[in-house]
């Protein structure tokens, strides 16, 4: 006797696939964010390798309220900051730049100046990364070696050590 096997259709039900996919898309769209993920970096000095920096041994950049700057106690436009720094570093490439900001200035004012200082490495080199300037000893100048951002408390501590009110 021939027994015919009844064939069972094997199918994966895909009717709800679109619903699930859309649900997942909506979830990822809402929870993910195109956040700002870039910025300017700087490393804080460790206690062991912090040399004592004197104001006269450095380039003192003071950001005033309103965004104007004073470099070594002289008013200077922002465009003049890097040329001035370049001339100073040609004499002594180890000179650090101290970036002080008035507490009443805004964060944006300070960042504008910090960004300008950081541009030294790209402005003082050509497109191939070759240095355009040299110091008095003939060594290439590739940028500002040290940019120090002291906090108000550190400045006050230093002033009290020096006996300045």
């Amino acid at each position: 006797m021939n027994i015919k096997k009844k064939e069972i259709a094997s199918e994966i039900f895909t009717g709800s696939m679109a619903d699930i996919s859309f649900l997942l898309i909506i979830y990822f769209m809402i929870t993910s964010a195109f956040s700002a993920d870039r910025g300017m970096d700087f490393a804080l000095p460790e206690d062991t390798d912090t040399p004592e920096i004197k104001q006269e041994d450095s380039i003192d950049v003071h950001v005033l309220r309103g965004g104007a700057i004073e470099v070594d106690q002289k008013a200077l436009p922002l465009e003049g900051l890097l040329p001035y720094t370049l001339e100073k570093l040609k004499q002594n490439p180890e000179k650090p730049v101290i970036l002080r900001t008035d507490p009443d200035a805004t964060y944006g004012d300070m960042i504008r100046v910090f960004d300008r200082l950081r541009q030294a490495s790209s402005e003082w080199t050509d497109v191939d990364g070759q240095p355009l300037y040299k110091d008095v000893h003939g060594n290439p100048l590739l940028g500002i070696k040290t940019i120090s951002i002291p906090t108000q408390r550190e400045i006050e501590n230093l002033w009290s050590m020096l006996g300045i009110q």
Partner: protein
């Protein structure tokens, strides 16, 4: 004869949906790959800079938003370990405690300062001071891309 002159043959109106699954999956894969939970969603105007490097993904975030004149909200500082959503802090000591705990866990922990450009520098200075006290080593100042017309 039943033929009526001038009547057009009916065309079935259908939307072609066969490629919908492909499009949906393409979008799904895109969102899964770019998925990143933002630990601090405070809306603010970041300062614009030319120099911008990518910040580490798991860095701790300290956000400083300016006082809101319309809503009467004061200047707000929020902190996040980089894994959980940010929480508000009210004193500088809390920032020191937060940062010290993070540095104790990982001495090379990076910190992102996300501050509005209109925030008085005094507050950013206080946060920097707290990070210095906590022996933090690496700091990133979040910014937007500067363009030539700015």
């Amino acid at each position: 004869m039943a033929l009526i002159r001038g009547r057009d043959k009916k065309v079935a109106a259908q939307i072609f949906t066969a490629s919908m699954a492909d499009i949906v999956f393409l979008l799904l894969v895109f969102f899964i790959l770019t998925y990143k939970v933002e630990v601090d969603r405070t809306k603010m105007d970041l300062p614009d800079t030319w120099i911008r490097i990518k910040v580490p993904e798991k860095a701790a975030v300290i956000s400083i938003s300016p006082p809101d004149d319309r809503g009467g909200l004061p200047l707000t500082i929020r902190v996040s370990t980089g894994k959980e959503m940010s929480l508000p802090v009210s004193t500088d000591e809390e920032i020191v405690t937060f940062a010290s705990t993070e540095v104790a866990r990982d001495p090379n922990k990076e910190f992102i300062i996300k501050a509005d450009e209109a925030v008085p520098y005094e507050r950013v200075d206080a946060v920097l001071d707290a990070l210095k006290q906590s022996k933090a080593k690496y700091i990133f100042l979040l910014s937007d891309q500067k363009t030539v017309d700015e």
